[in-house]
């Protein structure tokens, strides 16, 4: 479905990002696995792709820095000659109640989760505009749609990504670049492992399908949105959440 295409996945070393890298590679895309700190995990992802017979490199860079974002895109074009798909997946959490949330926790989450999407999208828009084609897929979250106590920073960033997705979709549509967002619900990753059993039981009650999702559930949709089959879809927010938000 994606042979000949080149994808850059931010935060691709672990969790949902890793599953996205592996699925895009399975579909034939060449992958640039971006990571901020987990070099070992990024190399594992690259090795996983190579084991599938795919082609991949790992590139370090902090999406919160525009300079780093430009370097990642340049490294992608240098390694594989073009860039067809950008998956803005990199994200962090610094949860706390509003009253206890430190300014730096707010800033860190906004800078990575929201400004990071702006930075990478801006950096990639030049080569994509020249190619007259591109797919940008942003990973937001159901909490950006419904709110969540203890996550004022994360929720604000994810809600911001939804607005940014729509704005960028309108701006880039005339150049055949589509921009969509996926809103995962509760997906089994290291990020959600931290939740206590009590919270999990409560959560399941709010999920019609009654269970958590897997990273692959997200990756499958990314692969579809990145393919030519999704050419007429842009500016959309798609939930993969077991029916949590309807």
């Amino acid at each position: 479905m994606l042979s000949g295409k080149v994808a850059l996945v931010t935060g691709g070393s672990r969790g949902i990002g890793r599953a996205i890298c592996l699925e895009l590679a399975k579909q034939g895309a060449k992958i640039v696995v971006n990571y901020a700190g987990s070099q070992g995990a990024a190399e594992e992802t690259v090795n996983g792709i190579k084991a599938l017979g795919g082609d991949a490199i790992a590139v370090q860079g902090d999406v919160a820095s525009y300079e780093d974002a430009e370097k990642m895109v340049a490294a992608t074009v240098e390694a594989f000659g073009r860039i067809d798909i950008l998956v803005n997946n990199a994200g962090i959490t610094r949860d706390n109640l509003l009253m206890r949330m430190k300014e730096e926790d707010w800033d860190a989450v906004i800078n990575t989760n929201l400004k990071g999407v702006f930075n990478c999208t801006k950096a990639v828009s030049r080569p994509m505009m020249k190619q007259r084609s591109g797919r940008i897929i942003n990973i937001t979250s159901v909490v950006g749609q419904i709110g969540n106590p203890g996550q004022a920073n994360y929720v604000s960033a994810k809600a911001g990504v939804i607005g940014l997705t729509k704005s960028n979709a309108k701006e880039l549509a005339s150049r055949n670049i589509t921009v969509n967002a996926i809103a995962p619900g509760y997906i089994e990753t290291e990020m959600t492992d931290k939740l206590g059993d009590e919270i999990k039981t409560k959560l399941f009650e709010a999920i019609p399908l009654g269970r958590m999702g897997q990273p692959e559930d997200i990756a499958n949709l990314v692969a579809f949105l990145g393919s030519d089959k999704a050419a007429y879809i842009t500016g959309q927010i798609m939930n993969v959440d077991g029916g949590m938000v309807m």
Binding site: M129, E171, S174
Partner: protein
């Protein structure tokens, strides 16, 4: 020197905006006379950067309205 620059700039404009060579004059405004939208102007600036191997800052790019602005900019920053 600047006639050569004008010719190269004209080529890019003709190709990018699909206008006739005769329409491209120094006083032509990209948006009003040549039918460019703001994204077209951004793309033109990108191509000019490649063609003339230079970087045009966002601040300077925003001041570009006419073909003459481009030729003057390139001539004085080359």
């Amino acid at each position: 020197m600047s006639t050569d620059i004008f010719a190269r700039v004209t080529n890019i404009i003709v190709e990018r905006l699909g206008v006739e060579e005769g329409q491209v004059k120094l006083e032509s405004s990209f948006k009003e006379d040549l039918g460019a939208d703001s994204l077209d102007v951004v793309e033109l600036v990108m191509e000019l950067e490649d063609e003339f191997d230079m970087e045009i800052s966002d601040e300077d790019a925003e001041k570009i309205n006419t073909v003459g602005d481009v030729v003057t900019y390139i001539t004085s920053n080359k």
